[in-house]
Structure formats: structure tokens, C-alpha cells
């Protein structure tokens, strides 16, 4: 509509036509948000809600001679939930994701603090650039790079052997898996925390010192409380990414032991068990939703909630 108006000669337009435009404009305020929101809503329905509903529906279907058949049976659910491989994979995936979340925060918090408070403006911009670039580069490619670095004949082992020591089995264990996952989670977590640190009013730091807070304790008393919510966000994001990741378990540990994502693929491959794979998928989504809700609950600003009635 603005295009039409802009292309209209401003003075020569007949009064009636202008009046018409105005009439259409004045009718729109109520309908405008709906119209603008519609594409988003449609997108969400088609590409998110519908597949999700389908995913849940499929869990009740059956597979007969490699073909899906609609049904309503809890068979798939009981089979998966009581299967030992699933239970092991669930425990293992949870363990991996929790460890990855902890490692991410342990590395990201000091890193983000250093970038935000200890670097010069120039170095800070450079550091942020180096954090953003990997987010937009292929994760797969970065994992391949790690394989080259960590493989038995890779760069690290070559250096170790040159020093006259035995090579280490770097690839194929929790260490390699965490290296791969941190490649994924660290840039995002550090960026979230750098943004949060940068948002802190520097006057707060000075005010704390002015009120008797040692410089070394400002981090504890001012900075950490200030980025509480961002810390929960960074943590839950790291959990989310590592819990559902497929590439690192596949390439860094060779799927042994399997994580839930690996299990999904295996389940599909072995006898087209789409319904059972869907059960695992739905359980994973439920866990992620729970983790996110928990983080939201913990990160909620109680100060605002308390008297906000």
C-alpha cells in the first residue's frame, strides 16, 4: 500500500481517490496485526505444528512387512520405554548433555568476561567476529577438521610421537565427543554471555566499589547476578544442542555407545520402524521442553514477579 502511495503524484491525485485510501487505512488498525501475523502463523502450522502432530500420531501406528499402517496401539511406547538399549542411550545422552552444559559454562563464562571487560575495543570486535563466523560455517566441516587433528595418525598424535611418546587414542571416547559438542555449543554460549555482559551498566560496577565492594568481588556481587538469566539461557541452549546432536556422536565416537539421535537412525534403518523412532523423538522433545521450562523458571526475575500483581 505504501508503494502505491509513494508512486502516486502527491498533488495531482484526485481528492476522492485519496479519501478512499484514507477510508481503507482507518479500517485496518484492528485487522492489520492479524494480517501481518498470518504468514508466521501459517508457517508455524505447516512446518512445525503439523509435523509434530504427525510425529505423535505415528507413534501409535504399526509396521507390517516394512509398511506403515494406521492403528491405535501403545505397543511402540511400551517396547521402547522398556527396552534396555533405549534406557542406556537415554542415560548416556543425558550424561553427555549435562557434562557438555557444565563444560560449556565453565569455559564460556570466563571467556565472555575476558572479551567484555578485559580486551580493548579492537580485540573485542575481533573476538566477536571469530565467534560469529563459526556459527555460520558448516558444523560438519568443523567436525571433519577435528577428526584430522585427533585421529590416530592426526596432527596431535604426530607431535606426540615426534616427542618420542606413544600415540593416544584421542578419537572415539567421551573426550572426543565433548570436543565435538563444544565446537557446536561454545560460540553460541559465549555470544549470549558477551551480549549479556555488554548490557551491564558500567555504573553498577563503580557503584559497587563505591559502596565498599572489593574489585575482586565485583564479579560475584554484581556481574554474575546481572547475567543470571543469560547464564540459564546459555546453559539450556548448550543442553539443547548437545542432547539432540547427531554429528558429533557419529563422527567422533563412531556411534559407540549410541546416543538417542543415533538410536533413532538405527531404529529406522532396522526394519523401517518409523513409529518406534517417533516414540524416541517425542520423548526427546518432551525432555528438551522440560529442560527449557525449568531453565525459564529458574531464570525468572523474582524481583519483578514478587509485587507485580
Amino acid at each position: 500500500m505504501t508503494d502505491i502511495e509513494a508512486s502516486m503524484p502527491p498533488v495531482k491525485a484526485p481528492a476522492t481517490e485519496r479519501g478512499l485510501f484514507r477510508a481503507r487505512y482507518t479500517a485496518s488498525p484492528a485487522t492489520m496485526p492479524v494480517m501481518l501475523g498470518l504468514p508466521v502463523l501459517a508457517w508455524q502450522l505447516v512446518f512445525f505444528a503439523a509435523p509434530l502432530v504427525f510425529l505423535i500420531v505415528v507413534t501409535f501406528w504399526k509396521v507390517r512387512s516394512f509398511r506403515l499402517e494406521p492403528d491405535f496401539s501403545f505397543d511402540n511406547w511400551t517396547k521402547i520405554i522398556f527396552s534396555v538399549p533405549f534406557q542406556r542411550a537415554l542415560a548416556y545422552t543425558g550424561e553427555v548433555a549435562v557434562l557438555c552444559t557444565a563444560l560449556t559454562l565453565i569455559v564460556a563464562l570466563p571467556a565472555a568476561y575476558t572479551i567484555s571487560f578485559r580486551l580493548s575495543q579492537k580485540l573485542r570486535d575481533l573476538a566477536i567476529t571469530f565467534l560469529i563466523v563459526p556459527v555460520f560455517s558448516s558444523y560438519m566441516l568443523r567436525i571433519y577438521a577435528w577428526q584430522i587433528v585427533l585421529s590416530p595418525d592426526g596432527i596431535v598424535n604426530s607431535l606426540i610421537r615426534m616427542a618420542g611418546l606413544d600415540g593416544l587414542p584421542l578419537l572415539g571416547g567421551q573426550f572426543a565427543l565433548q570436543v565435538g559438542l563444544l565446537t557446536l555449543t561454545l560460540p553460541v554460549a559465549i555470544l549470549i554471555l558477551v551480549l549479556a555482559f555488554s548490557g551491564i551498566d558500567r555504573n553498577l560496577v563503580e557503584a559497587a566499589e563505591n559502596l565498599g565492594c572489593r574489585r575482586s568481588k565485583v564479579i560475584l556481587h554484581v556481574l554474575m547476578p546481572s547475567i543470571r538469566n543469560a547464564t540459564f539461557l546459555a546453559g539450556s541452549t548448550a543442553f539443547l544442542m548437545s542432547f539432540g546432536d547427531y554429528i558429533s556422536p557419529l563422527f567422533m565416537t563412531g556411534s559407540k555407545p549410541p546416543t538417542l539421535s543415533i538410536l533413532i537412525v538405527d531404529t529406522v534403518k532396522s526394519g523401517s520402524q518409523w513409529p518406534r523412532a517417533s516414540v524416541i523423538g517425542v520423548i526427546m522433545l518432551a525432555i528438551l521442553a522440560l529442560v527449557f521450562l525449568l531453565a525459564n523458571f529458574l531464570g525468572r526475575d523474582r524481583k519483578i514477579q514478587a509485587g507485580g500483581k
Binding site: D201, E209, L211, R214, P225, D301
Partner: protein, 362 residues
């Protein structure tokens, strides 16, 4: 020197490429309410930051209570400050904010809650203790910031333009409150502001700064009526500055010849002045009369109306006097009868005793 509680001794601060404070000297008495004034960038806020230890001076010394502050970090100084942005901790409740300095001093939970609540109640915030900062109004936040600064019972309070973010109505109320607190506590207040009204309403003494140096110190009304130089005269109010050469002395008066005419000015500030001098005449001390009628009163210039500016019931009329701008301030009712169309000619008269000879020529 003897009864000075705070002493700035050749205090100097250089930043990279900027000399913010140029070796200033100042004594502040215990219990005094001092206003540091000046245009932005004059060094007043830097001086306050040096007092609080947030910046290290590059020269000179600060003594508080006779003790040199050199090398003492901010957190050990007990020079609490009220910030323009208030700098309240958004992640703490109202009472937790006030408790913060006590917590840093490792005072027990029950004791610090008690002392914080006493201050909140004193400032009328007793019922807000558990609220979040974001739920308070501007005036309430201001009070929390003041309570947080005073809860440790300091002997000096620093205030950095604390009222500039408030609306006019609230500002006046907070001024009253600050004034009351100052009287009740009897501690030293150092108050940075660029607003003359605040300095006049609050301060025992003002320190006027410009370009890193102190221009004048004194009681507000004295600085207003008897400025030390042209900068102070310009900053403090609606003043017209006239320059000329000393033509002779008549008792305690001095006769000045200048491009605008011949004037008689009392020579209180510099009785033996010679050569080039300047005097100021406040805009509200000038009377207007029709240029055609009047004869030769001694202190008089003639000018054309340029325009009028309205501020409430007060009006400022701008005149062009031989190329120099003259400002005259009048109440609305005083000029109702006058025709002030731009271009009209008027005589601008004043009583000789209302002129003030500047100790330093402009």
C-alpha cells in the same frame, strides 16, 4: 586550613589528550553543603570521581579528615555517591539494595536488615522494601539510592547531578528532602550540578568551574551579584557585559569610557583599577524608556529591539546596542504599555550602584 574536612591540594587529572582538572585547590568544611557547578566538561564530575577514588589523580592530593587519600582504593574510602543514573542494582530488591554496603562490611543479617529498614522508613519507603527496583517511580528510586548511600553513616556524601532525571515538580520536592537530610545529619554534602536553581536552593557555598579550573567560590547570592569574571557573569545569569577604559575616579566610583558611552561604576571589587576594564549589569536591573524623550542620564545606552523571549511570566527582550546584544528582563505587567516591535528604539538605563565592576577585564 585548620577546620577543613576535605582538602583538594593542587588536584590534577589528565586523561589521554584531555586535561580535565588543572591543579585546583579547595577546602571544604565539615558539614558544609558544597555545590560544584559549571558547564559540561568543566571538570566538576571528574573532581567528584577523584574524591570517590573512582579515578586516580595525576597530580596533587586529596585529604579527607586529615588523611591523604592517595593510593586508597574506592572500596575503602567511605565516600558514598548518588549517581545521576542512580546505579541501583536491578537484581536486588529495594531493601537488598540498601543492605548492599552493609553486606560488604560483613555486618550480620539481622543487624543490616534492621538498619536498612530504618533508612527506608525514614525516607517513606517502608512498605516498598520487598519490591523490585523496576516497580518504583523515579522519585522512589532516588530515595532508595540516597538510603543506600547513607546507611553506612558516612561523614561525607557525594551527589552527581542526582536530580537531573526527575521532572520539575519532583525535583523541587527532592531538593527539600535533601536539604532536610543535610540539616538532620550534619555531614558534608558535595553536590555536582549544572542547574543554578538546585545550587541556589541547596548549597551553602558554590564552586564554579570552567575548563578544569575554579573560577569562583562563595555564597550563591554573592557569586550571582558579584561575579569574579566575565565567564561567571555569563554563567550565573542574565548579565550584560560592557567594556571600556578607566577615565578617572570619583570617590569610590570609577568612570569608564567605552564604545557604548560613558558610565559610572562603583569600584568595590577593585578600587584602583586602571586601563581596560569590564562591568556587568544584570538584565533585571535595566529599565526601559522611550529613546526620543530622554536626555543625558549617566548610565544609559540606546538600542533597537531585536526580539522577545517568553519564559513564564518573565520576558527577556533582546536589544541591539551598536552591534552588541543587550538583554533586559521584565515581568509581563511591566512592559504591557510598551510597544516592543522589532526595530523600535529604546533607552536602557540603570542605577550606578547596580553595576558591578569585574575584577578581571573581559
Amino acid at each position: 586550613m585548620s577546620d577543613a574536612f576535605v582538602t583538594l591540594d593542587h588536584l590534577d587529572k589528565r586523561y589521554a589528550g584531555h586535561h580535565a582538572v588543572k591543579g585546583i585547590n579547595l577546602d571544604i568544611k565539615s558539614g558544609e553543603f558544597i555545590a560544584l557547578m559549571g558547564p559540561s566538561g568543566c571538570g566538576k564530575s571528574t573532581t567528584l570521581r577523584l574524591l570517590a577514588g573512582l579515578d586516580e589523580p595525576t597530580g596533587g592530593d586529596i585529604r579527607i579528615g586529615g588523611r591523604s587519600m592517595s593510593g586508597i582504593p574506592a572500596f575503602q574510602r567511605d565516600t558514598p555517591m548518588v549517581w545521576q543514573s542512580l546505579a541501583l542494582f536491578p537484581f536486588l530488591s529495594v531493601v537488598e539494595n540498601v543492605e548492599f554496603p552493609l553486606r560488604m562490611k560483613k555486618i550480620g543479617k539481622i543487624e543490616r536488615r534492621k538498619r536498612a529498614m530504618e533508612w527506608l522508613e525514614r525516607l517513606g519507603l517502608g512498605t516498598m522494601a520487598e519490591r523490585g527496583i523496576s516497580q518504583l517511580s523515579g522519585g522512589q528510586r532516588q530515595r532508595v539510592a540516597i538510603a543506600r548511600s547513607l546507611v553506612t553513616q558516612p561523614s561525607i556524601l557525594l551527589l552527581d547531578e542526582p536530580l537531573s532525571a526527575l521532572d520539575a515538580h519532583l525535583r523541587v520536592r527532592m531538593q527539600t528532602e535533601l536539604s532536610r537530610l543535610h540539616k538532620e545529619l550534619g555531614i558534608t554534602f558535595v553536590y555536582v550540578t549544572h542547574a543554578q536553581s538546585e545550587a541556589f536552593a541547596l548549597a551553602d557555598r558554590i564552586v564554579l568551574m570552567n575548563d578544569g579550573t575554579i573560577q569562583q567560590t562563595g555564597r550563591p547570592q554573592d557569586v550571582y551579584r558579584e561575579p569574579a569574571n566575565a565567564f561567571v557573569a555569563e554563567f550565573m545569569g542574565m548579565n550584560n557585559i560592557v567594556s571600556g577604559n578607566v577615565a578617572g575616579h570619583e570617590g569610590t566610583d570609577v568612570r569608564i569610557d567605552g564604545p557604548l558611552g560613558r558610565f559610572t561604576v562603583p569600584a568595590k571589587s577593585s578600587p584602583t583599577s586602571e586601563g581596560k576594564v569590564s562591568f556587568v549589569i544584570a538584565a533585571d536591573r535595566v529599565t526601559l524608556s522611550d529613546a526620543a524623550k530622554d536626555g543625558g542620564a549617566a548610565n544609559r545606552v540606546t538600542g533597537n529591539v531585536i526580539g522577545i523571549e517568553f519564559v513564564g511570566s518573565t520576558q527577556t527582550i533582546f536589544f541591539d546596542v551598536d552591534g552588541q546584544e543587550f538583554r533586559v528582563q521584565k515581568q509581563q505587567h511591566e512592559i504591557d504599555a510598551l510597544d516592543l516591535t522589532p526595530g523600535r528604539r529604546f533607552d536602557l538605563n540603570w542605577q550606578p550602584q547596580h553595576a558591578w565592576l569585574l575584577p578581571q577585564a573581559a
